[in-house]
Every structure is written in structure tokens, then in C-alpha cells.
């Protein structure tokens, strides 16, 4: 089957635009192509216009349907964050701490021969936990404030990213769940729609199940402790390496879960769903909240990335630096976040600055 870029570019437009303009623009495009204009040039112009129509603030009331308008605003505000969060979580996954002092004593592996081969003294046994340096002494652990301010800034950014990502994920799932509830009352459903109605619930169960399994229910996961003078100085999860890679980082699990749920959401919103005023209330309120979270997430992510860049290398005094396995992707994630912020803020703004006559029509619905 031949791929027509013009048709693809037309299909990229928002639904309200397609309903109103697709036939008209397709006819004109066909005329221009007959004249010998480049198919790719016409398609490129239309694709850029599609982006413009999605990102522009006000949605014209051409369909005379406030339900569709609400739906567009809600999905435009919520979808960007759904698409960006997996990338954000990917870049912030596989966190590790390094310290020059730690390297000086060799790897801290639980071993029956511990603490050999290193003679135990105040500097010999060190561990890194939650971003702090611990030195084990015969009298107990001493915590050193060995993190530089960029490392702290990055850590705070990471914490905020995690919280916002979790809140967003729960918000998204609640939006889809409430839309699912509204859809279930529709009498006629195709098989695909029946599947989509249940898919947010499946995604939620999968995410929660994976989290519980990785943290509490997995019998293979045990912890090993090395005790020095009555203090646990090292713990380690015992898992198959591949399994450990998948389940040990809940960020990645959540990211994958969000990605799955996002794909489901897009398919869900692409189906023929029109919500009444009552049905749209919860999804719309949550979408507005999600739309406002994106700029905060962008700020936190910028702090995180900036901190990583500024923290330098571990000093000989045992300064801790934090690193992330996939942080090299941060410029891409940041660009996506900035774009998502613009889209979300404009969508929220468009919804909240609805013309007065439309507000009245909603009130009387």
C-alpha cells in the first residue's frame, strides 16, 4: 500500500480541525499536486500546521459542541506529560554514588573474609548511603557532610521529579479511570473499545503489581548485611542480574507503566468518546492539575541536570558525587519538557479563558 504523506499530515490535525477542514484541504492539496507541486512540500506545510493547531491556545467553537472543546483542552493538557514522563524517568534511573575514598578501599562486597584485605581503621570502612558518607569507627558510624551544593541541588531536583512524576502518574490513571467509568455506560461498543475501556485499569494493576512484587513479594530478593562492631555497613539485593536490572529501580518500572498507559490513553482519546458536562468534570479538573505540574517538573528537571553538570569529580577527601546511567539524554528530555510545558499551559489557559457565552451554555447543560 502506498503511503500518502498528505493524508498522514491531515490525520495529524486535532479532531475538531479534521471534522471541519479535512475535505476542503484535501481537495486543494489534490489540485496543487496535479499542478506539479511537491507532495512532500505540501505535506510538510500541513504537518507544521497540525502542530500549530495542537499547540495554539484557543480552539474555535466551530463544532458547536462544548463537550468536544472540553475534551480537546483536557487531553491537550494531560497528554504531553504522559509522553514526557517516561523519558524523564529513564534519564533519572540507575542512580549511583561514587567517592574517591570509596575507591581507595576497594569494592564493598559481603564476604566471609570481611574486613580483610584492608586493615580496619577510621578510614578503611566507608559506605555510601542516601547520598552521605559514613565512616565506621569502633564507636559507631560518623556521617560526613561530604556532598557539594550542586550534588545537593541535583538530589533535591531528583526528589521533586520523583514526587511530581508519581502524582502525575496517579492523576493520569485517575483521569482515564473516570473516563472509563463514563464510557462503560455507553451501550454500543466495538471489541476494541471494550478493550480500551479496561486498559487503564490493567495498566494500574500492572504498575502496582510490579512495584509490590519487586519490593515485597519477590522471595528471591534477600538482603545481605555485613556487620562491623554491631552496625550494618552494607546491604545488597540478591537477584538474577537481569531480573535485578528490571525490578530494582522502581523509576524504570513506573516509567514503563506510564508509557504503556500513555499509549493506551492516546488510543482511548482517539476513539469516539464525547463526554457530557458531568462526565468531563473529574477528567478536566485533573487534566488542569497535570497541565500545571509540567512547568514545575521542568524547573525541577533543570535543577537536577544543572546540579549533575556542576558537581565535578570526587575529591580526594571522599566527596560524594551522584551519577545516573542514562543522564546523557537530559538535553532531549529537557527540550521535550519545555515543549510540553508550553502545550499544557496554553491548553489550560484556553480552557479557563473560555468565552462567556460558552460558560453559560455549560452552566445550563
Amino acid at each position: 500500500m502506498r503511503i500518502d504523506p498528505v493524508r498522514i499530515a491531515l490525520a495529524m490535525h486535532p479532531r475538531w480541525w479534521r471534522r471541519r477542514y479535512t475535505d476542503e484541504v484535501a481537495t486543494i492539496s489534490a489540485d496543487l499536486l496535479e499542478e506539479g507541486q511537491s507532495r512532500w512540500r505540501v505535506a510538510g506545510g500541513l504537518a507544521i500546521d497540525a502542530l500549530r493547531q495542537w499547540t495554539r491556545g484557543p480552539v474555535p467553537d466551530l463544532t458547536h459542541s462544548t463537550a468536544i472543546r472540553r475534551q480537546v483542552a483536557a487531553s491537550a493538557a494531560a497528554l504531553p506529560i504522559a509522553l514526557v514522563i517516561p523519558l524523564v524517568l529513564y534519564t533519572t534511573s540507575y542512580q549511583s554514588y561514587r567517592s574517591a575514598m570509596l575507591r581507595s578501599v576497594g569494592p564493598l562486597l559481603p564476604s566471609p573474609s570481611w574486613p580483610s584485605p584492608h586493615a580496619f581503621d577510621q578510614r578503611a570502612v566507608k559506605m555510601i548511603a542516601h547520598g552521605s558518607n559514613f565512616t565506621m569507627t569502633p564507636t559507631g558510624p560518623i556521617v560526613h557532610g561530604s556532598m557539594s551544593w550542586p550534588t545537593y541541588m541535583s538530589g533535591v531536583g531528583y526528589f521533586v521529579i520523583t514526587v511530581l512524576a508519581l502524582v502525575s502518574l496517579l492523576g493520569l490513571l485517575t483521569v482515564w479511570s473516570s473516563m472509563r467509568g463514563a464510557l462503560r455506560h455507553r451501550s454500543r461498543h466495538s471489541r476494541t473499545q471494550r478493550f480500551l475501556v479496561w486498559s487503564p485499569a490493567v495498566a494500574m494493576v500492572a504498575i502496582v503489581g510490579l512495584y509490590l512484587w519487586s519490593n515485597y513479594l519477590n522471595q528471591q530478593q534477600t538482603r545481605s548485611f555485613v556487620t562491623v562492631h554491631g552496625h550494618h555497613v552494607f546491604t545488597m539485593a540478591v537477584l538474577h542480574p537481569l531480573l535485578a536490572r528490571v525490578v530494582s529501580d522502581s523509576n524504570l518500572t513506573l516509567g514503563l507503566g506510564t508509557l504503556i498507559a500513555s499509549v493506551v490513553a492516546m488510543a482511548f482519546l482517539a476513539s469516539r468518546v464525547e463526554l457530557s458536562t458531568d462526565e468531563a468534570r473529574v477528567p478536566l479538573a485533573l487534566s488542569r492539575m497535570l497541565g500545571r505540574i509540567v512547568p514545575l517538573l521542568t524547573v525541577a528537571y533543570s535543577l537536577w541536570a544543572l546540579g549533575l553538570r556542576l558537581q565535578g569529580v570526587p575529591s580526594s577527601r571522599g566527596q560524594v558525587i551522584v551519577s545516573y546511567a542514562h543522564s546523557g539524554w537530559w538535553p532531549l528530555a529537557l527540550v521535550c519538557l519545555v515543549y510540553a510545558s508550553v502545550v499544557s499551559v496554553r491548553a489550560v489557559s484556553a480552557e479557563s479563558h473560555r468565552p462567556q457565552h460558552q460558560v453559560l451554555s455549560i452552566t445550563h447543560n
Binding site: E24, I28, D31, L32, V42, G44, D49
Partner: protein, 103 residues
Amino acid sequence: MARSKIGRTQDATILVLTSLAEGPKHGYALIKDIAAMSGEAMGPGTLYGVLVRLEEEGLVEALESEDRRRPYRLTGAGEVSLRERLETTTRVAKIGLRRLGPA
């Protein structure tokens, strides 16, 4: 020389409004008229980006049509807006030319 985005948008708006000042036209006729007027080929993506905005602002309106080529026409507000834009452009052009001096 590359023009700014705002400049491009304003140019496209004036071109569409000016073309419609002659009378109602459908999209294809607009593209042809604008090409004849300005020498620039406006693509359907750009044209409909402008038309959607102008329709929303109430400066143009779509007319009923039996076929798929829907004509558009200027509204009263559109005429006023075009006149203001052209007067501003003319004023700026005159000042600019005066400051440049004779060629």
C-alpha cells in the same frame, strides 16, 4: 534575509485579507491570487492556519457550498481590520522610504 515569525504571520494575514477584499474565494483561488499578488506560493498548511485564526477572530466567514471547495468572505470586522492594517503598513512604508532617501 530571513524574516521574523511575527512578520511572516502578519504578512500571511494581510495577504489573505487583501485577497478576500476582492470578493469571496475558496482556498485554491486564494492560493492562486496570493501567488499572483505577492509572487509567493502559500501552501495549504499556512493558508488554513491563517484562515482558522481569522475565522475564529470573526474577520472572515465561511459560506455554504455544495462541493468540497468552501468559499470564504470578509466580514465587516474583517474589512475594518484590513483597512487599519494596510493604513499602518502604508504609514510605516512611507516613513521607511523617506528615511532611506532616494535610491
